[in-house]
């Protein structure tokens, strides 16, 4: 959906969403030209309808979690799930490392990127640099990557 400022004939931009916990939902939008702001307010049933689709107004800010809707919506037993130990967050790539990755043939680039990412993540390395790539190549025997 899009919001249009009629006076300016300009598309309004999304600002924020709020779910205060009473089942309602609010999303605010502003006109980049005149500054007018509006809020879209949804009642609990409308909010439920949208969340039932497993989608988020304003777009997703976090990746969908496994069984996210089911776990949130089904009133079930408390011990239905056990969580694996959390892994370290995904590492970021330095610009040098990105550039080096860009030289890998495109048809294997995704696989190579995953290998390096998993290597860094398993070792709680926050940033992948060319030095980390060298170390991974040596330890994992990735000649040519």
């Amino acid at each position: 959906m899009k919001f249009l400022c009629i006076d300016c004939d300009t598309q309004m931009t999304f600002e924020e969403r709020q779910q205060p916990g009473d089942g309602t939902f609010a999303a605010s939008f502003g006109c980049p030209r005149c500054g007018r702001r509006v809020a879209m307010l949804a009642n609990p049933m409308e909010t439920q309808l949208v969340s039932t689709l497993g989608v988020e107004i304003g777009g997703r800010t976090l990746d969908e979690q496994p069984l996210e809707f089911t776990r949130g919506a089904v009133a079930g037993r408390d011990d239905a799930f056990i969580e694996d130990a959390p892994r370290a967050p995904r590492p970021v790539w330095s610009s040098d490392a990105e550039e080096r990755l860009g030289r890998v043939p495109s048809f294997v680039r995704g696989m190579v990127k995953k290998i390096y990412s998993d290597y860094a993540r398993d070792r709680a390395i926050a940033e992948i640099t060319p030095a980390i790539m060298d170390r991974a190549r040596e330890e994992l025997g990735l000649e040519g990557m």
Binding site: L4, P44, Q48, L53, G54, R60, A73, A75, G76
Partner: protein, 284 residues
Amino acid sequence: MATHRTYFDVEGPDRSALGAQVGRQRARVIERLRDVKRVVAIVSGKGGVGKSYVTAALARAVAQRAAAVGVLDADLQSPTVARLLGATGPLRVAEDAVHPALGTNDVRVVSTDLLLDDGRPLAWRSTAGETHVWRGAAEAGVLREFLGDIAWGALDVLLIDMPPDAGRLADLATLVHNKLAAIAVTIPSDESARSVQRALTAARDGGVAILGVVENMSGYACATCDTIGPLFAGNAGARLAAAFDVPLLARIPFVPPGAGTPALPHVLLDCVHAPRSAHEPPRE
């Protein structure tokens, strides 16, 4: 009243992109089932024909062929197949998927039975009210997540134990159309034939390949005299198979408790999982 520009006239981005979000959900299902060779829905169009019993027996028998088998219990309101396969929770949540429970012969199972308290019906946490408006969409959402968020891994076949009504098959067909086939389960009676006919018609109209018909409770296997006596009047299995030009895959007698499990015919097993030839390397 002035005429405004329409959604398509306004060229700016749609940050919500609800259609794209739904598209990603469907892509997630396709990606998750990439290594699943076949998805077979066990349908009936009515309750009480032993659909879950047939699903569990079929899963066990195919798994005994050293095949990798999964069972998704799509009968969200009355889940039974997990119990029949001896699968219990809790389900292990990993980073990007939830691992299925393991049942008999390592059959991978997911079911709402593993999520609900004993004796409690499927219920929703929402306080929104008007449940009838959104319950169908919510159940479709659970089915989608059971397909797309469970770490099924490589499977020779994923069996789906469908609810009695025919509508859920349409949801399933939308999500996994290219791999989906169906087997119908009936009991011999005319009443069953009428209901199962509707389910088969829904499958055919939805473009779902029908592998055949199984007639369950097809007589009563006497535990002492080794004979099969009559149980229900009728021959619904043969009639439905002829009407839809598909094979009658099995006629399974009712076996009293403690009298063992009837062996399923090879033609039934072969239609969901072709036997491995002697020249193929063993599965790891």
